[in-house]
Point group: C2
Chain length 358, copies 2
């Protein structure tokens, strides 16, 4: 068995973004808000929706930020997204609520749902909102940061159109169903935002465009062999689930929980054309550990200390490659955020003109 | 890139178990109960603890059932497990509770905690118990089946001693932190029980003893190359997290959530000697979708239908190898359970004598 994953290898840097013109965050936010207002969003909703797009690019998640804005506009124009629709509560029991997203903008629906889960968790220690009939939430991590900024632990996930074969199958019946897990911490939240496929189709595409192989196998080729060739995986539609059969099983269960709790669509019911992908089911779960802790066992500092010592134990482990620091999920985000706020957000020039002229 | 994972490959069958003598379930349960009574368990606690061990082996999870019983006895005798301790509630707010396991038997503590989460979810739609200061829960899947048998969706997880290096590290600072996800369904629950490492140390050991290579890379060798050699991974203590950096991140976050919500130990604080592994932190989360559904949108049949159609969409996908059916998590359990109940539970003869003579 040869070395298919060189010591300390990480995903390639998205260095091409740093050759792009940089736009100040406020200018980007303003331009996106204005564009959404021209698409008939109310001012308040335009501002929040624009902020979520701009913050995603600010945080270095280039694939799901401003770069997705043109596709978002397409889904508004083709009727997949109703710019006026706001989520409506369908039923509730205690700390669990079911909401209908009414096919409103996916990021606004998700933000409102996490906000509601946080409110429930403030009152009842934990809160869960199951949302159906919604649209693509863009960067899932946004709702993890949102919860952690409110001092909440969060788990949230979405189903998607079918884009991942179950383990042992050659055609997709599962979604890559991103899962977000967040833990609040004074000196930097831990936020994990991961799809159930080892690589997203976006990552496969950008490797192919750069003429690069993946650094580890990312799926099967047409002959059913594992491959590092992104084009072969795009052609076969057989990306690899994380952990092989494990990620396949987890994707299936996340879909079932979202669809059953929201009484909404499962992956196999969602239109497979990306700009027609609508009617998604999502789960937003917030846990409020400080509510228990401040009561009788100290304060939030005790919780912070736990997160800090976990990170210390990871940071101080012997690295495979001393030039590659060991990082916790979310650690790079703060550095990229600071840099992009200071220097401006990298936005492709033709995309910027497109936004201004929308 | 050669084929490192032949089409449709699955994990090797545990065929050696079928050459063992078979003990009827009731006889096994009775013998384990008697042994626990001799170890000073009360009758009721002995019976439940014994049932959880016997059911694990009945369901084919041989590594975490009766085979673990001698090690469990060791942890009682060395004082890691207090047979008389029952969990005690420390604090509560609404649907979230923190309990102290007081180093009681891990499977009894976990069973009581999931039972409490189910009770909370009956009243409030969702319930979460964070348990600290507990012991190894043996088969995590037990608590998923327990919740699903009560009509509940469940997520639960445990931290463990450090046995998994963070991504980019060569020494373990993370646990393999098994995660259990369960969805109830009339014709067979979906239950996923998975560690954050691609293979457990138990699986590595059994491959080594059979002289078999893993069918996919399971970790790094001493030189830092990915390998299928189980002995090389045992020696390096570098098993591979599922999804590489993704499973590493998820393990870290699950540890942080359990330790912070329970205000208990994190992985780095847990003794690394397996028979001294104690003071674990765990999360038990139950969601009650039927509570919302029966209210105003039909009944449990609607929920069952959702799970059924998801499974149909997976079962009917074109298989990579027509001789290898595509399965949902938990599907094999019912077949193995039926067979083991009918023919008897395979138990190694010397282990059986050891139990009888305890």
């Amino acid at each position: 068995m040869g070395p298919i994953c060189p010591k300390g290898t990480r995903r390639p840097k998205v260095s091409q973004y740093f050759r792009m013109p940089r736009i100040l965050f406020d200018d980007l936010h303003h331009a996106l808000t204005a564009a959404l207002e021209r698409l008939d969003f109310t001012s308040e909703r335009a501002s929040l929706c624009a902020r979520l797009f701009a913050e995603t690019t600010r945080d270095g998640v280039y694939s799901h930020g401003v770069l997705r804005f043109p596709r978002f506009v397409t889904t508004i124009r083709n009727g997949s997204v109703d710019v006026h629709a706001a989520p409506m509560r369908v039923s509730a029991l205690g700390a669990l609520e079911r909401w209908d997203g009414r096919r409103g903008p996916g990021n606004l629906n998700a933000h409102a749902s996490m906000d509601r889960a946080i409110t429930l968790a403030r009152a009842q220690g934990i809160g869960c909102v199951a949302l159906r009939n919604t649209n693509h939430w863009m960067r899932g991590g946004s709702y993890g940061w949102q919860a952690a900024d409110s001092g909440m632990i969060a788990l949230c996930w979405t189903n998607t159109l079918a884009n991942l074969p179950a383990w042992g199958a050659v055609e997709p019946s599962l979604g890559n169903n991103p899962l977000v897990v967040a833990v609040p911490r004074a000196s930097g939240h831990l936020v994990l935002d991961m799809a159930m496929s080892q690589f997203s189709y976006g990552a496969l595409e950008s490797h192919r465009l750069r003429g690069e192989q993946l650094h580890i196998p990312g799926g099967f080729d047409a002959s059913g062999n594992l491959t590092r060739d992104p084009a072969a995986i795009e052609a076969s539609e057989r990306p690899l689930p994380i952990g092989y059969w494990k990620g396949s099983g987890l994707s299936m269960l996340l879909d079932a929980i979202a669809a059953m709790t929201a009484l909404g669509n499962a992956t196999h019911q969602i239109p497979r054309e990306p700009t027609r992908e609508t009617g998604l089911s999502q789960i937003f779960l917030a846990i409020n550990p400080a509510a228990l802790t401040s009561e009788n066992e100290g304060d939030a500092a005790a919780l912070d200390h736990i997160a800090d010592t976990i990170i210390d134990s990871v940071h101080t482990a012997k690295p495979a490659d001393p030039s590659q620091p060991i990082r916790y999920p979310g650690e790079q985000t703060l550095r990229i955020r600071e840099e992009n706020l200071r220097l401006g957000i990298p936005v492709d020039d033709s995309l910027w003109q497109q936004i201004l002229n929308l």
